[in-house]
Symmetry: C2
Subunit: 227 residues, 2 copies
Amino acid sequence: MKVLYRGKTKDIHVLEDGSYLLKFKDDVTGENGVFDPGANKVGLSIKGSGKSNIMMTKYFFEILKEKGIPTHYIDANIEEATMTVKPAKLFGNGLEVICRYKAVGSFIRRYGMYAKEGQPLDAFVEFTLKDDERQDPPITEDALHMLGILSTDEYRELKDLTKKIANIIKEELEKKDIELYDIKLEFGRAGENNELVLIDEISGGNMRAYKEGKYVQPLELEKLVLD
Amino acid sequence: MKVLYRGKTKDIHVLEDGSYLLKFKDDVTGENGVFDPGANKVGLSIKGSGKSNIMMTKYFFEILKEKGIPTHYIDANIEEATMTVKPAKLFGNGLEVICRYKAVGSFIRRYGMYAKEGQPLDAFVEFTLKDDERQDPPITEDALHMLGILSTDEYRELKDLTKKIANIIKEELEKKDIELYDIKLEFGRAGENNELVLIDEISGGNMRAYKEGKYVQPLELEKLVLD
């Protein structure tokens, strides 16, 4: 089993049949020992977080499958904290698509002159490049097109699919009285038809969720969701 | 004559008839004594730069007028380094619209993973917010719309007008064998019809120009253009 890539929070192995095995680690992104889903570094290690992330990811990817949303998911092994997925081609060297329902984090750091912390946003979508060295810069439709990362049609498709997925997650969380503030998704193309699919994971690590106005830490969120 | 606003490189006074008088100073933006058109601070003072900027601005605004481009310009007094303009309403607290022909500066700092320094860009337009505290963040069409800064039509109008103006400046510079790499423009609404107009200045301070592959300093640029 060949290691294709060692990431901050996951390693990717290639299986004999060509599918990929994602091994979830106990490392989470953050700064100075504090979890931050927007951070570019591993900030701390939390025992059991790999297993917790795979449980939540399995839970949401299976809901998405039922609703007909294309993803890279094949199956998951909770004990091993691994997930088997279809190999996918990234857009450029990787894009993140963020959907926001409340203005927090980097949105306020950028647009705080015009928006108040916690202000409602109507499923507002933005794109950032995965580029640790350049702090995942935000990028416009025109720049994505000009740099050959997305066509105009792909941009629209990704934006629509992001809203659709974020709304499903939001509704699922609402059933547990949890409010989704924002979520960060990744996409690729997979399969014979080069289909646009959701990739990576859906866990506490790539969303901000609040309960009774208080931020819910990823491990706590996973307990509340899977309870 | 009332002072309405004291800016980094210009002060704005209100005249008795309601028009504005812009007084160009000898201060230019930069860091540590080095000129940088993208900087948010006054980096140095160059004797005669106010007068030089007003000469170049008058030169270009008069060319734009001939070509039917709406601007806030009324007239200029070179000796006093002042320009009389129509009062204009800003979009939000001020927007900058950048048109790029070669990839340099903040474009490379953000998108260096996908673009090479000096790579040709086809009159690529991007918008940034004027916000010193937040380092003039770039902003997408969707965010401008959502934050109530621009309508979708205004976005398109501003983008088209920016390309049109940048192309005129580019052609003028080409007559002197100077190559325009990028230019930063500001817009507002002025007059009875609330017309969309170019505001602020057009000088070495808001563009990057090269001659024989070498960057031309603003004062030198103004000498070459007005020669």
